[in-house]
């Protein structure tokens, strides 16, 4: 199995608070990993560490073959992170935002219309300023920006929040397609009823460490085991 994420005893600080206090994790190709746990457990920090955004205070970590201790910037271009904020510019239109982020990430911006279609962002909305979008439309646009990048590792923090039923279904499908295409997905979520079936693995995070790690009902890269 090719190792995509490999953490050993990782400690990461927010200020001086050890948000991760010795996390160990191995994630392989095409896995869909659900990260669950109470608020403040360290889920978002775990995703940010995997994205190469946080300094690693102690321990060892490798993501997509990049050593995060010595050079955490190198991995960034290959991951897609959907965080709590959507990283969209209010005064640009939906399409302009996506084209900007595509060019910034050095991918072709021809993929932009297709990605917007994929996320069900209606044609009439594309020339609207992001400022005028609803929270759900904004979230879809942000996820479209991740889709455009075609990342090898998807890091989704509460991807379902603020979305209607069709939006949630759409996100599940996007995640499944990504995994089927060989990407690895880690998603932090509280919506267990929805995500438990989706994931190939269930991690529980508490106190800045991974406290349980179970196989899910779905096999990596394959279809329903049931």
């Amino acid at each position: 199995m090719v190792s995509i994420v490999s953490l050993q005893g990782v400690v990461a600080l927010l200020g001086r608070f050890p948000a991760l206090a010795g996390a160990d994790l191995e994630v392989g190709e095409s896995e869909i990993v659900l990260v669950q746990g109470p608020n403040g457990a360290g889920k978002s920090t775990l995703l940010r560490v995997c994205a190469g955004l946080l300094r690693i205070e102690a321990g060892w970590a490798e993501v997509l073959g990049h050593d995060l201790v010595t050079d955490r910037a190198a991995v960034r271009r290959s991951v897609g992170l959907l965080g709590h904020d959507t990283a969209l510019y209010d005064d640009l239109t939906v399409e302009e935002n996506l084209r900007f982020w595509a060019r910034a990430s050095r991918v072709e911006d021809d993929a932009v219309p297709a990605a917007l279609d994929r996320l069900g962002v209606a044609e009439r909305l594309r020339d609207v300023s992001v400022r005028n979008l609803s929270a759900g439309q904004r979230r879809r646009t942000a996820l479209a920006a991740v889709v455009v990048r075609r990342p090898h590792l998807w890091l989704l923090d509460e991807p379902h929040s603020g979305l209607d039923q069709s939006g949630r279904d759409l996100i599940d499908q996007v995640i499944l397609d990504a995994a089927a295409a060989g990407a690895t997905v880690m998603l932090a979520s509280h919506e267990l009823d929805r995500t438990l079936d989706l994931a190939t693995r269930h991690l529980t995070v508490a106190g800045g460490a991974i406290t349980s790690d179970e196989r899910g009902s779905r096999n990596p890269g394959g279809h329903d085991a049931a």
Binding site: R16, A206, G207, A209, T211
Partner: protein
């Protein structure tokens, strides 16, 4: 740590700092005696020349202190050394005091000698004022909210910006004023009497010793503050892991 040290004092002093402190006190008394009774009056400035004994040492220590801050800033960015970060912060705080004193004594001295409290045409005065504002800005950045290492990084960049820009500020003021009232290096042109020179250098030494004393105490205070605020990282990690254990045991 087998024998716990007995009777540790609850203050930031030590034998060394007490020695330094005594040296400063002796130095100050000597300065007053030499400055007011031994050093002769100046032909031009009469007794007002005795202001030099507090003004010049303050000015020199200002630049020493801010140079240390600049070095500490570089070392923080380069090595992420907390030790240097505290040094930079402590030195800036003491430097601002010396800088303020330089401006105040300078302008008090300016009144009898130049007949004005403030002379915009004077290069060093104006540069020192700008430096003062910059370092107040440095301390303002220090007191901003945000996590500790972010604050240290922001402050370090300010320290470096100030250090890099001060020469060009000085240059610009120099050209702009195109004249300066300041004593054209009164130290080297031999116009000062021997005792005046000696007392001034003694003043620099005494201020330097005071700076060392204050730095030591200020450093230890900053260290204690960190200890109180963060505790030990190892303990924090242990506490964090205990949360995990409480919620179901580590796999």
């Amino acid at each position: 740590m087998t024998n716990p040290p007995i009777d540790l004092p609850a203050h930031t002093g030590s034998r060394t700092t007490r020695l330094l402190g005594v040296a400063v006190l002796v130095g100050v008394v000597t300065m007053i005696l030499l400055g007011f009774f031994v050093a002769p009056e100046d032909d031009l400035m009469a007794d007002s020349v005795r202001m030099i004994f507090v003004h010049v040492p303050s000015a020199i220590l200002t630049y020493v202190a801010f140079s240390v801050t600049a070095i500490g800033s570089v070392m923080w960015l380069w090595k992420r050394s907390v030790w240097w970060d505290i040094v930079a912060h402590s030195s800036a705080e003491i430097g601002v005091i010396f800088c303020g004193l330089t401006l105040i004594t300078g302008s008090i001295w300016g009144r009898p000698t130049w007949n004005t409290y403030w002379e915009w045409g004077d290069v060093r005065l104006v540069t020192t004022l700008i430096l003062f504002v910059l370092m107040v800005g440095y301390l303002a950045v220090r007191s901003m909210d945000g996590d500790e290492s972010a604050v240290a990084t922001r402050a370090s960049v300010v320290g470096i910006i100030a250090a890099v820009n001060i020469p060009i500020i000085n240059r610009s003021v120099e050209w702009w004023a195109d004249r300066t009232l300041h004593q054209q290096s009164s130290i080297t042109d031999g116009k000062l009497e021997d005792w005046t020179l000696f007392t001034m250098f003694l003043g620099i030494v005494v201020s330097g010793v005071f700076y060392t004393w204050a730095m030591t105490h200020r450093f230890r205070i900053a260290w204690l503050e960190r200890e109180l605020r963060d505790g030990d990282l190892g303990e924090a990690i242990a506490a964090r892991r205990a949360e995990a254990a409480a919620s179901g045991g580590v796999s």
